[in-house]
Subunit: 385 residues, 2 copies
């Protein structure tokens, strides 16, 4: 097995728990990759010999970003809807339904090409693990094929049949479909089940039914909740002991306490608030209450078409009260926790060697230099990509 | 002279005045480059033959960005100061003075390497013309060598000796130096003269003295004004008939009227407000009052270390009430006007062929897809770079 040592690392972010700081940073560091995993980290002066050597030139090395929330399987363009929203003018088209119609009309090849393009775009920006949801098919056939497409790119696929109630059916009929034949067709392609628990989408009882049925089919649960207003979703997630609940913009003190008590991770998606001009979630309040936090992109054609975790980190610092270290931790270690993955999100011995080389001396520059494409190199499972 | 035709342009932004829209867009377009200039634009079906052909694959082509405000000649790192500011904690280091000390201590080679790296970084993000200021030297020698370094990369160099009053001198003594020996040493390397007219920096009389002396030495004037609070700078700029005045965050109705009446361009720098958590300037108010607007980066190590005009465009739409078209126009045509340049900022016949290929079908995606590195290719004076 070939060993590669990366030397000259100005700052190595390991995310080792119990390190000298939240990110477990090591300065003037080296990292050894053997095969697909991290074999050694420490001060460069103590690095063991290796077959190959890469010089980081004083730059920072971080774990690859873990993006635990995205909706990449779609077709169609909604840039005009975005422009209208920004101008404060009304727009006749039908939001998610526009994308559903375009997605149903697309071929498998078109969907696969689109997902591949976006996954590649994410990778260039440092994302090495991505979760991808269905949710723009809303028929048994289109949800199953959306997940089959997503599964070509990641193991972290999520069945989101309960995204919105499609035209021509009642909520009751649709939940019966989602928890019955649609779940049966989708479960083989999915690791997770999710529901959009929000006024205008699915209420708590409906969301619970979807998650319970998903669990019976072997899928782990996650939830969209409390994005557009206060609601029961976050408390439902805590009650069900879900690993993560996503959005968490509108939270009562009871919601925050429930997350803290249950150990459920709050996944914050600041690209959405940027792209919809909504108020940002208060990460500071959550962290100070002991809630674990992840940051993800929510990349989707309607409410947030960014794929950039560097931007989300900068927004978390600017708008959500996080320190740069907290934001980077949330986009790496936090994302891994939100996906219940212990093989990624950190650069300690035995972890998968998913890492990025930053064209900057420290992680702070991801917030200090917003918008600048700082990711200079990416390794996945020990190989440069 | 070799002619190259770019075909398959999904949307060509020409900025032709009097076009069907603000950006003078042409759909399904082609553009012909002869030598260093644009020789033809129009519908692809009507494109003349050329020696070489490039297929844009349905992507958008825009004029290269014109960044009319940057401070790239510096040394040192202020990321810790940034992190402290974001955390709301005090920071002992001395702001601009930290950079001045590091810049004075740097060799010419170090400064040149730093500017070259940042200009290259800007170019990868689509900036094809950049203005660069001095202002971290504050001695005759260090200001002159800062400008000599900048001049290696651009003709748009600006003498900003009047950036801040350095330690160990009085404002009166320093203005005498700036308008005397420092100006004499700097004028040969500069096209512009600038002053920071703000409480704590230079008052209106001092700024006027700097601009008047600069004009006598053949330099055109520009001004930093009304960034941190209301003040006389914007009205001074209008009174002196300057082409542009930069920041314009705190404006009275009289300030806005003065800009409109004088035809002075307001250069807005939203990366600063993003990076300092200050309120954004109100571009909508300016545009509605008939003021011409430019957007620039203000790339500098203290208040805004972004080099990304795509991010500034996204911020202008999210935070300043501009449409995507207005923001793109301001970062291209507006920047060119702010530099009194009629050879760049547009893609009409005879203009310099500075252009960028966007990995997206339209300019709207610069705001719709914030943070995503969408610039796929850049041409400067007709050549891919």
């Amino acid at each position: 097995m070939t060993a590669t040592v990366i030397t000259g690392i100005g700052e190595l972010v390991t995310n080792a728990p119990g390190g000298r700081d939240l990110l477990g940073t090591v300065e003037d560091a080296a990292l050894v990759i053997e095969g697909s995993t991290v074999a050694w980290t420490g001060p460069a002066a103590e690095a063991p010999p290796a077959d190959e050597q890469v010089d980081a030139g004083g730059r920072a090395v971080l774990p690859g970003f873990v993006d635990s929330h995205s909706h990449l399987v779609f077709a169609g363009d909604r840039s005009a809807e975005f422009a209208a929203r920004m101008a404060g003018t009304s727009y006749a088209a039908g939001g998610i339904r526009t994308t559903v119609a375009a997605t149903r009309a697309a071929t498998d090849e078109q969907l696969t090409s689109q997902v591949g393009r976006l996954v590649q775009e994410m990778r260039r920006q440092g994302t090495t693990t991505v979760e991808i949801k269905s949710g723009y098919g809303l028929t048994v056939h289109d949800e199953a094929r959306s997940l089959a497409v997503a599964r070509q790119f990641t193991e972290e696929t999520t069945f989101l049949g309960a995204h919105v109630v499609p035209d021509g059916t009642t909520p009751e009929e649709y939940v019966a479909l989602v928890t019955g034949p649609m779940l049966e067709a989708c479960a083989p392609h999915a690791r997770w089940v999710d529901a959009f628990c929000e006024r205008g989408a699915f209420d708590a009882d409906q969301a619970r039914a979807v998650l319970v049925a998903g669990a019976a089919a072997g899928l782990r649960g996650r939830l969209h909740a409390n994005q557009l207003g206060p609601g029961p979703g976050v408390r439902l997630a805590a009650e069900l002991g879900l690993g993560a609940v996503d959005h968490c913009t509108y939270l009562t003190d009871d919601d925050v306490a429930a997350l803290s008590d249950a150990g459920t991770i709050a996944t914050l998606l600041p690209g959405v608030e940027f792209s919809t001009r909504q108020p940002y979630p208060d990460a500071r309040r959550l962290i100070d209450a002991g809630v674990r936090v992840a940051i993800a992109s929510d990349c989707n054609p309607g409410s947030c078409f960014t794929s950039s975790l560097p931007l989300c980190i900068a927004l978390a610092v600017r708008e959500m009260g996080m320190t740069p270290a907290e934001a980077v931790h949330a986009a790496t270690y936090g994302g891994a926790q939100a996906l219940d993955r212990d093989d990624v999100g950190a650069l300690t011995v035995g972890k998968r060697a998913d890492l990025l080389l930053l064209d900057a001396p420290s992680h702070v520059h991801l917030a200090y230099r917003p918008g600048v494409p700082l990711v200079r190199g990416v390794w996945v499972a020990g190989r440069p990509v």
